[in-house]
């Protein structure tokens, strides 16, 4: 049997070895560059937006129209809270509003009465003025006659007293007229009270409408574990709705590869629910911040700096959000594992 030496110094063999090692090194560098220029991640997840469904009013759950994992459409009535307390409050508010309206009408009538009174008082002033003028002319006429004793002094004296009376009557009627005009007032306070009642009524009507909860978007019902009869506090979430109109993939890309990721770049996403069906997507945004253990600490306190001597630092990764185009709904489940290939892959020719 022929022995093959481990390393025979044949020139052909050395040339082949050098060629192979050189080719492998060059190819390795090339592939490394390609990999950096076309980042990918196999730890992405399928993501969607969620709505925590709650009503702004509280009460007993009266009707529940959905079951868990059910698909609902925007505008569907999801559940209803017992509306009776709100209906009663609405009746109360309606009665208050009617009362305020009646008060406005009442005040309107009073206002017209007071306006008439003020007009009467004005007429009284002009009558007192006429009387006073007459008395003054009488005194003027009698004064020369009384001076020459053509008439009794008594008659002239009576005329002067009458003038004095008429002046006092005029002053009094002027004061009365001013008071009657001031007393007319206006409808401001009753109108303000009516507006307050109207606002209270509208608010209760809004609350009554909120006892029926409407689906804000197309989606899937999740985390629903209660039945009719549950008492809910205001704004207490009953279940979570996964919005179905937009789906996303979130992939963490190392910071060194981020410069190769641009907003709008084509992305191939594979949901691992079916790893043979590519989903086309586009980079929508790149996260601007992640919480780092090296910068943690309470605000306003001193920085928390661990003592360490690390020579090798693992690259930070930032979440890249990819908006998916229309895909088979069976592949899209929130939290599913996804592989993400930026600017290459089956969906990006």
């Amino acid at each position: 049997m022929q022995r093959i030496p481990v390393s025979s110094k044949k020139p052909v063999g050395i040339i082949i070895a050098v060629l192979c090692v050189g080719a492998a090194t060059a190819f390795g560098i090339h592939v490394s560059h390609e990999d950096s220029a076309h980042p990918s991640s196999d730890s992405g997840i399928i993501d969607a937006e969620v709505v925590h469904i709650a009503s702004v009013v509280g009460g007993r759950l009266k009707a529940l129209n959905v079951s868990v994992n059910q698909r609902v459409h925007k505008g569907d009535a999801l559940y209803q809270i017992d509306p009776e307390p709100y209906e009663l409050t609405l009746r109360q508010a309606k009665a208050n509003l009617d009362l305020a309206n009646a008060e406005v009408e009442n005040q309107t009538r009073l206002l017209s009465v007071k306006t008439s009174n003020a007009a009467t008082a004005g007429d009284q002033v002009s009558r007192a003025q006429t009387n006073r003028d007459l008395a003054a002319r009488t005194v003027e006429r009698l004064q020369p006659l009384a001076g020459k004793s053509y008439i009794p002094w008594q008659q002239y004296d009576q005329a002067r007293v009458a003038l004095h009376d008429a002046e006092i009557s005029l002053a009094q009627s002027r004061i009365q007229s001013t008071a009657a005009t001031t007393a007319i007032g206006d409808l401001k306070s009753s109108i303000a009270a009516r507006d307050a009642s109207q606002a209270a009524y509208d608010r209760i009507r809004y609350e009554l409408r909120q006892t029926t909860v409407i689906a804000p978007a197309d989606g899937y019902v999740t985390s629903l574990r209660v039945k009719v009869g549950e008492v809910l506090a205001p704004s207490q979430s009953l279940f979570t709705l996964i919005a179905d109109n937009e789906w996303y993939a979130m992939a963490n890309i190392r910071e060194g590869d981020l410069e190769a990721v641009g907003v709008g770049d084509c992305v191939t996403v594979h949901s691992m629910i079916d790893r043979n069906t590519p989903i086309r997507g586009h980079v929508q945004s790149i996260g601007w911040g992640v919480l780092s253990m090296d910068s943690s600490g309470i605000a306003r306190s001193l920085p928390l700096v661990p003592r360490q001597m690390d020579w090798v630092h693992v690259a930070q990764r930032f979440p890249v959000r990819i908006r998916l185009e229309k895909a088979n709904p069976l592949l899209l489940r929130l939290g599913a594992t996804a592989t993400v290939e930026v600017r290459h892959g089956a969906a990006c020719p």
């Binding site: 082949i16 592939v31 043979n276």
Partner: protein, 91 residues
């Protein structure tokens, strides 16, 4: 540029292990409920290629011409693995 037609033609023992010619899908392979990255399959193919070439060269006598056999076979395995990666996963 990627030669897509080549991808469906590649076959070998490692491909059978990972579920036949399904490499056109995601660059990760489910094995017993865990996802293994594509480059790991490429590395296995590289090792298998190096061993296979060693056996082939021994049978055909080409092995006698070589020196620095360890480096040569490792380099050939690396080239095979990188070729598969470029064809299957590369941009």
């Amino acid at each position: 540029m990627r030669p897509a037609r080549l991808r469906s033609c590649i076959s070998g023992p490692a491909f059978l292990l990972t579920g036949g010619c399904t490499l056109r899908g995601a660059p990760a392979f489910p094995i017993m409920g865990a996802y293994f990255p594509g480059w790991m399959a490429c590395a296995l193919i590289g090792v298998a290629t190096a061993v296979g070439l060693r056996v082939l060269f021994l049978l055909t006598g080409l092995d006698a011409l070589l020196s620095f056999r360890l480096f040569t076979y490792v380099a050939l395995g690396v080239i095979a693995a990188l070729t598969v990666w470029t064809l299957v996963f590369g941009p």
